[in-house]
């Protein structure tokens, strides 16, 4: 692999990885709050954007730049759909299976519920958008930053100019989410419920409302990830699940529950994937298997995350 190719893979990997990190952050947040693994997370990422596209542009989306009004509509609707889908998944697939302490209780129930919720979103989208993949227009107009839409890198490689703003926005959103959780009153409530739901209740935190807010935030994060991800290439309805699993892998590369670790894990995963794709011996086939293999291996070795401390004893 030449230096130019490697640099190109690195830059693209950072940008894609930051999106994986965003997806992983939503996954991680919901795990710490409810001990439920958000199986529908990835479908919400893709679903929020594609539903917005359906509403604003219709069933034949084209990659041409939408006008200002439609761009605004796409962004706002995608965020709203993200919130709505996330809340709906909570009400339908999570809340019925939580125990007295608002922690996951009926394991088979929420596992089946989460995976089925994802399938319902995919099926609903598939009815309206039957083709294998669609080119989704970019409401944020990142490609317009340069006249050609691409940037030359030292060493001869080129990347789409959108990778830079995507990386910036993703990192900024993760930092903002982290600061929100640490500094704001609502964020403190969320962290207290994550730590100990019983104690949080005793301190006057309304658990039900906190969970709803947290799921809404997870939906916002998912929709943001979708808005950054979808316009970068052709997007299929089925890509959501894979994106969700990549996010889970990102979250598990650090300590499950930590926003910063989810971002770093995502970036590591994205760079590894792009380097695999760019290498002559491995290529795209192995690159598509890599994150899934990482997820399986990490779960086998350290179920609470690669950097999580070993538990003293399990009882």
């Amino acid at each position: 692999m030449s230096g130019g190719v490697a640099l190109q893979a690195l830059v693209v990997g950072l940008s894609v990885g930051a999106i994986y990190g965003l997806v992983g952050l939503a996954f991680s947040l919901l795990w710490s709050l409810t001990r439920v693994l958000a199986f529908a997370n990835g479908d919400i990422v893709i679903g929020s954007v594609l539903f917005a596209v359906l509403a604003v542009i219709g069933t034949t989306p084209v990659a041409l730049s939408p006008d200002v009004l439609r761009s605004l509509g796409l962004v706002v609707l995608a965020l709203l759909f993200g919130i709505a889908l996330s809340l709906a998944s909570y009400v339908v697939a999570v809340r019925p299976f939580l125990g007295r302490t608002h922690r996951a209780e009926d394991l088979m129930g929420w596992v089946a519920g989460g995976v089925t919720a994802g399938l319902v979103i995919r099926t609903a989208l598939g009815v309206a958008l039957p083709a294998a993949a669609y080119a989704v227009p970019d409401p944020l107009h990142f490609d317009g930053l340069t006249s050609t839409g691409v940037v030359s890198l030292p060493g001869g490689g080129t990347v789409g100019v959108r990778v830079f703003p995507v990386l910036l926005v993703a990192v900024a959103v993760v930092i903002a989410a982290d600061r929100f959780l640490v500094l704001s009153r609502v964020g403190r409530g969320i962290r207290s419920v994550a730590d100990d739901p019983d104690a949080a209740t005793l301190c006057g935190v309304a658990i039900e409302r906190t969970l709803l807010i947290a799921f809404a935030i997870a939906g916002l994060l998912a929709a943001t990830a979708g808005l950054l991800y979808a316009p970068s290439g052709a997007v299929g309805v089925d890509q959501g699940v894979l994106l969700g699993l990549y996010g889970a892998a990102a979250a598990l590369l650090g300590r499950l529950g930590s926003p910063r670790d989810a971002l770093i894990g995502g970036v590591v995963l994205g760079v590894l994937q792009q380097l695999t794709q760019a290498s002559q011996h491995l290529g795209a086939a192995w690159a598509s298997l890599l994150p899934l293999a990482v997820l399986v291996v990490v779960l086998a070795v350290r179920p609470s995350g690669l950097l999580a401390p070993r538990e003293a004893f399990a009882e």
């Binding site: 001990r35 439920v36 693994l37 199986f39 996951a104 394991l107 088979m108 129930g109 596992v111 089946a112 519920g113 995976v115 089925t116 399938l119 319902v120 099926t123 598939g126 009815v127 039957p130 699940v241 894979l242 699993l245 889970a248 892998a249 795209a284 086939a285 598509s288 298997l289 899934l292 293999a293 997820l295 399986v296 779960l299 086998a300 070795v301 179920p303 003293a312 004893f313 399990a314 009882e315």
Partner: protein
């Protein structure tokens, strides 16, 4: 005929998954991957001129080994992570099939001639596998599996599965080798999945990646959930619903004029949602009509109160200079402790003095940094995990009111007996109802009866645990531990939350256990109870022994009184 055979093969895979999901409580979302291993493995091997029979067996063996390896990881995973790992596995397998056309034959898939011939010159065998032959083969396997699950309810295997499902931590403390059992269950599930896949591949003569997408894993998962927990007929209902799906959706599609494939996808989603939504009510119905094998009661003989086999005064357990730390905190700092047959030895001390850790080290749940643990004067098994220790003769009750959920009281006690049944074929023998198995089952019943009688729960064996009051649930814990036959009982705060009357009853039981030749190491905060039942009291402070002796001696010990008991008297 072909459709029927396909559905029956799917049922084989569903029964395999049911063993893992609805019997052992392991959420496996990747059964489709194992079905694919069977289907593509068989077709690939057969196309490389491997004889068909050997190809099928090799593909099934490959899947079983994969399942066993997944089990190595799964043994340590909480249920949630196992679900995620197997879901990722389902997508990994599917993605691999899609991106490696050499493996899968691409979108068109791999084909071979049908009907297949099963030829073995050495056996003089030449069978043409017509669809009806497939129907017979698949039906025989299905009926065999259903019968096995039906019969397993009251057998050793049924007990182990019930214990895995309802309380793995407790099962481990009673000496059930939880990790080994999980590996076996996942290997069996994977092998049956592959068998279903191999059968379908030989029947249809074509395998394409699209038929083995993660949707298959999801469909199978929900199919085994439909019929409720641990029912032998559940998977059949689920697969019947799945089998009705294509024809129903085609009818629907032609009626309202939509694309049949889309109609099928929508109907699948609707079916899955309905299956999950009706899960609770269905489970209640199954319980109400007793259709489940869960509440099996163990037959109770009129056993005699068995005396512990140890000679009075024999050393059952010794801790010598045990040091144990959590991180930088040294919880046990050179602890010496022993337990003799026939005594109640109470371990007291302030919170954080190391009482519970001492029990955990003795029970093999926590490793000692240094020092020795001797069981009946032999070195304790080095491996971590309670199962070996229980076999060696030390058993611990858990601090909180751990339970095996929905199992009847007698059945819960019977789980404790399992550790004594060393013979690995007990489960198989019981399925076949051999005379030896009947003797084993009878012995099990009599041990259960003894244990229940010792703790004063006779007459309560057939009620579900939820019908016991909190004190009786603690006594049940003791009965389960007694049933393992380990003479050294480690009992952690049994009286927490009990009324005065209940404490008296508990004290009598502890005394009776010691008098029957067992040794009871009791961690307890209630000093009145300790004073009444203990032969010896050891006071711990900061991981060391502060004082030891009879309750009276300890009561008079000035340092104990001053430092740890204030001015109140024992």
């Amino acid at each position: 005929m072909t459709t029927l055979a396909t559905d029956l093969y799917l049922l084989v895979a569903a029964y395999g998954l049911a063993i893992a999901v609805s019997y052992a409580g392991l959420p496996v979302l990747g059964q489709g991957a194992f079905v694919a291993v069977g289907a593509f493995g068989t077709t690939q091997l057969a196309s490389h001129s491997v004889p068909l029979g050997i190809a099928v067996i090799a593909a099934i063996a490959t899947a079983a080994v994969t399942g066993y390896l997944v089990g190595f990881a799964a043994a340590r995973l909480a249920g949630a992570q196992l679900a995620l790992a197997t879901w990722a596995l389902a997508w990994l397998a599917y993605t691999a099939l899609v991106v490696f056309p050499r493996l899968s034959g691409g979108a068109q898939g791999l084909t071979r001639a049908t009907p297949a011939h099963l030829v073995s010159p050495s056996l003089g065998l030449d069978i043409t596998l017509q669809p009806w032959v497939h129907v017979v083969i698949a039906a025989v396997v299905d009926v065999g599996l259903a019968a096995m699950l039906w019969r397993s309810a009251a057998t050793a295997w049924g007990l182990d599965l019930a214990a895995l499902r309802s309380g793995p931590a407790l099962a481990d403390s009673l000496g059930v080798p939880v990790q080994r059992r999980r590996r076996a269950v996942l290997a069996a599930a994977a092998a049956l999945g592959a068998a279903g896949g191999a059968g379908t591949a030989v029947l249809l003569g074509v395998v394409a990646p699209a038929d083995y997408s993660p949707l298959l894993s999801l469909q199978l998962f929900v199919a085994v959930l439909v019929g409720g927990t641990a029912t032998w007929w559940g998977p059949a209902i689920g697969v019947a619903l799945l089998a009705a799906l294509p024809s129903t959706s085609d009818a629907l599609a032609s009626a309202i004029d939509v694309d049949p494939l889309r109609a099928r996808a929508v109907l699948t989603a609707v079916l899955l949602v309905a299956a999950i939504a009706t899960r609770g009510p269905v489970a209640r119905l199954i319980r109400r009509f007793g259709l489940t094998s869960v509440n099996t009661d163990v037959l109770i003989d009129d056993g005699n109160l068995r005396r512990g086999s140890s000679t009075p005064g024999e050393l059952l357990l010794q801790l010598r200079g045990v040091v144990s730390s959590y991180g930088a905190v040294r919880v046990l700092d050179g602890l010496d402790l022993d337990l003799r047959a026939g005594e109640v030895h109470a371990l007291i001390g302030p919170n954080g003095s190391g009482k519970s850790t001492a029990l955990r080290v003795a029970a093999g749940v926590v490793r000692a940094d240094s020092g020795d643990v001797l069981i009946q004067s032999h070195a304790a098994p080095g491996r971590l995990g309670a199962a070996d220790r229980v076999q060696a003769g030390v058993v611990r009750t858990l601090q909180r009111t751990a339970s095996l959920g929905e199992l009847a009281t007698g059945t819960q006690v019977a789980v404790g007996v399992r550790v004594r049944e060393r013979s690995p074929q007990v489960g198989l023998r019981e399925l076949l109802r051999t005379p030896a198995a009947r003797r084993i089952a009878a012995a099990r019943s009599s041990v259960v009866a003894d244990a229940v009688q010792l703790v004063g729960l006779a007459g309560r064996t057939s009620v579900p645990m939820t019908a016991l009051d909190s004190a009786e649930q603690r006594l049940l814990q003791l009965a389960r531990a007694v049933a393992t036959g380990a003479p050294a009982l480690l009992v952690d705060e049994p009286a927490a939350g009990m009324s005065a009357g209940q404490r008296r009853r508990l004290g009598d039981v502890l005394r009776a256990l010691a008098d029957s030749g067992r040794g009871v190491l009791l961690v307890e905060h209630d000093l009145r109870l300790v004073g009444r039942v203990a032969d010896r009291v050891t006071v711990l402070a900061e991981g060391r022994v502060l004082a030891t002796g009879s309750p009276d001696e300890v009561r008079r010990d000035e340092s104990v009184r001053r430092a740890y008991l204030g001015d109140s008297s024992l």
